[in-house]
Symmetry: C2
Subunit: 177 residues, 2 copies
DNA sequence: CTAAAGGTTCAGAAATTTCTGAAACTTTAG
DNA sequence: CTAAAGTTTCAGAAATTTCTGAACCTTTAG
């Protein structure tokens, strides 16, 4: 049963920016309370020692694992740190840095060019749309990250009810004018 | 310049659930105003006719392209439809169906199992966290999709200022009590 | 200082994904 | 009905990604 979780997260991993093994290692660490050694990970998942090492390196670069040392033992022990929400945030943040930011910078460059003909003019209009959308979404996502967890929770629970709250806000502003 | 856009989106494509060619075809269609034929796409991107056909099939399954016919011409012509925002929505919706929903269903199954020991008990607690997070986020995203574009725009522009609006809402509710 | 225990690296092997192009299929003009 | 114009399919080739394991590096107990 739990193996199916680890296996499934391996497949999912590739959607989130890392490969199957990395996904499996991560899933294993998430559901294991005690920190475990690299050897144990390898045995558990049936992968080579080298592959475990590379996987853990990748997860560290995403800041998703912690290393521990037990006194009188020189092995490294690994575990995941933070709540699931922290981890989701970290993946989001990291992907923004690695993917969205370079894309935005490329689009910006393209938009600075003078269009040579109508086709290029049209293309720039479309690219500008994409640029604005991407920028809006990432800025918004970042501002949400700075919200306190409780407020974020309230907001999520509101769901589309947030529309009504916005209406109230508008009315208040009108009265003040 | 525009080639770099097409090329970059090819790379990006793999992050969004489809392969390089599909990403390039899509990028090309987005920045091309006039509908173009499958042959033109192949020439433009230097890919085989068969590959173009498969790519377009994939894009259709994501509902991201439209087929057109010119009178007196039996070729198919392709173009993208809808605003960039529509497209982002469609990709989100489609990925939810293909990835998130199966994941949620797997997690639900695991949570129904009776834990056999402490390790399994711990694993279930963690999996439950993941389950609730995923469900929260997708439900929220869906309720946002049902918001009118203007409201969504207001909300995005508010950014973290949405926190203050929530405070106002709370105060109003207290007065009413 | 030495050797044992553990970690990392990376060249090439294995697995997986993507692409090609020829054959098969579909549609329609004549 | 036939043939030309066009599209789709899919087996195998090519490209890409991932994985292994032996060589190498690092740390520390003695």
């Amino acid at each position: 049963m739990l193996e199916s979780f680890v296996f499934h997260f391996g497949e999912m991993g590739s959607r989130w920016g890392f490969n199957r093994t990395v996904g499996q290692i991560y899933a294993l660490l998430v559901i294991t309370e005690e920190p475990i050694s690299a050897n144990e990970i390898g045995e558990c998942l049936n992968i080579s020692r080298g592959n475990v090492s590379m996987g853990l390196k990748e997860l560290s670069s995403w800041q998703l694992v912690h290393t521990l040392h037990k006194p009188g033992d020189r092995k490294d022990y690994y575990h995941t740190n933070g709540s699931i929400w922290d981890m989701a945030n970290r993946v989001f943040e990291e992907r923004r840095k690695r993917e969205i930011d370079p894309t935005l910078s490329l689009l910006r460059d393209i938009l600075l060019d003078n269009p040579g003909n109508d086709a290029e003019k049209y293309a720039q209009v479309r690219i500008d749309e994409i640029y604005r959308l991407l920028e809006n979404i990432t800025q918004w996502a970042q501002s949400l990250q700075s919200l306190s967890p409780e407020k974020l929770d309230t907001l999520m629970k509101l769901g589309s009810g947030v529309g009504k709250v916005l209406d109230i806000k508008d009315k208040l502003l009108q009265k003040q004018q």
